[in-house]
Symmetry: C2
Subunit: 332 residues, 2 copies
């Protein structure tokens, strides 16, 4: 899956800025991909990009219209479809990470087929992946693992990529979820891959590379999440990470979506993740801890990170508050 | 997925008895499902069942023709297709666990649609499964876990079901792979389920039950298999097993399909599986060890099992040589 760039970011009739968080992520992490925005009447989001018509965007060099906004109630409205058709007819591909597929809208499929455009439903992999070989690959790899879902793993990997590139290191973020794929234009939505091929898909998106090159592989789920641990286990084996980072959100009271399941201790997650990671890379080790302290006061955040750093003997940062420079220091 | 029974077992032009091992499994474990066999010229397999024409099988009460034989080179031959069409036209559904899908043969689909027959490709789930809830379910559950793939997990679960039923206990084998599904007529091919729904599919096929009822859930893969551990991890969480059984093949020198990966120790597999199982069922424990000693002499087999039993303090049997009665004793 390789989405052509740069993008015209479709913000639709976003109810608020949060509804356009995928588009915001693209703009934050790949500003070179985010050429312009397209908004419908009543749109409450604004990325601060130039508003372009489809014709203007094509002239400016846009290749793909990316739906960077959640659709209300899961319905792709007629107003949206009219815009999407217009984009196809003017020469753009379409890409989306919606639960509904673009490929399930016959009108879009017919026009795309006729004009030779591509429809990317990044949540629904169409590739065939191999069974993982478990063979060692050249190059370096880093994988964030979490105490829970949605605790900052994608942000951590993207922040590391940015910091490493700023230092002139060779580094590529490797997306394993739909937002990450839309940000970078490639990757695999591993939670939608058939179970036998989880590890194989990760091997595929993180191939052999230069010995001083780092793949920053997007983490998913948690080994202690009763719904999604299979995804995480397969990801850990396929990643063959040299470096692991623990991601944690300290105010959460239970696993996301599972009120009966408490958050595991950081130590338990590190022990289990390291044990599993060492099956496919004996050199795997933890190199840092990233904490999402957005729900803590400055004082509490600092205290939590100081204590965590002392307890584990690893650099502990909030990537948003502190950046990830101290972790990259270790990797350099 | 619920395949109508009993079956007419299609043995095709099996090159040898091993090619018909799926049909043999159905006959061994569910003789009441195996009403008759259908063979083409040159078939080298014989289950010892009555050979029936399709018309005879329909009259005798057969509901489904099951393809119980591997297709040579992955090709579904014209000779096969003629028989399958004949079966549909005479009132039978079709079921297969082939890599190729019956549903990809337009002729069969057209006839099935016209006549209201069903095509079951058990290797390719069509159901939508929920994300696992992790909620405790009533009833008892047992799951075999292996040091490797293909070391006797299905056989163990089926042998336990047979022994428990013979003792008047309430017990159901729950299939998680294509052979198991064809044997019992229902289940889920979890290795083909989208990664997010591995645990959820297992919760679905093993629902709430009587407090003295045992689900014997078919195991898959190994937590130490670099290709398939994601499947196993999700299966362990979804199973919520009260009782675990370790399955092992003592002469294997490396993980199946992975020459670079040694077989883990039995202790390591038990430690990791128990740790993961206890996330969704705190009462989980190992109750026995099943060894596939088919490659050992009587003497070596006995010695290995005696030493293993002493080392782990659990009943250790080869289900084929010894039966699983000593393990059922523990469960009773």
């Amino acid at each position: 899956m390789e989405i052509k760039r740069p993008y015209l970011l479709f913000l639709g009739d976003a109810a608020d800025p949060l509804a356009a968080k995928v588009a915001q992520g693209i703009k934050d992490w790949r500003p070179e991909n985010a050429m312009a925005q397209f908004r419908l009447e009543g749109c409450k989001a604004d990325l601060g990009l130039e508003d372009m018509t489809i014709e203007e965007a094509v002239k400016a060099g846009c290749k793909t219209m990316v739906i960077g906004v959640a659709n209300r109630g899961g319905v792709i409205s007629d107003a949206w479809i009219r815009v999407l058709i217009d984009a196809l007819e003017n020469g753009l591909d379409l890409a989306a990470g919606l639960h509904n597929k673009l490929a399930d809208i016959p009108e879009l499929v017919a026009i795309a087929d006729r004009l030779g455009r591509q429809l990317f439903d990044v949540r629904h992999p169409t590739e065939i992946y191999p069974v993982a070989s478990g063979k060692n690959r050249t190059g370096k790899r880093l994988l964030p693992v979490g105490t829970d879902c949605s605790c900052g793993k994608m942000y951590t990997a993207l922040a590391l990529e940015k910091e490493m590139r700023a230092r002139g290191m060779k580094a590529d973020f490797r997306a394993t979820g739909q937002t990450g794929i839309l940000i970078t234009g490639s990757g695999v939505s591993i939670d939608a891959v058939a179970a036998d091929f989880i590890s194989g898909s990760v091997e595929t998106i993180s191939p052999d590379n230069d010995s001083d090159h780092w793949d920053l592989i997007e983490g998913q789920g948690s080994l202690y999440h009763a719904s999604f641990a299979g995804v995480t286990a397969g990801l850990i084996h396929g990643a063959q990470a040299d470096a692991l980072i623990l991601c944690h959100e300290p105010t959460r009271t239970h696993m996301r979506g599972l009120p009966e399941y408490p958050i595991p201790s950081m130590q338990a997650v590190m022990d289990l993740a390291l044990h599993m990671a060492q099956l496919t890379n004996k050199e795997a080790k933890f190199v840092g801890i990233c904490v999402n302290t957005s729900n803590l006061s400055d004082e509490d955040a600092e205290k939590f990170m100081r204590e965590t750093e002392e307890k584990f003997g690893l650099p502990c940062v909030d990537p948003v508050r502190n950046g990830v420079g101290r972790i990259v220091d270790v990797l350099q």
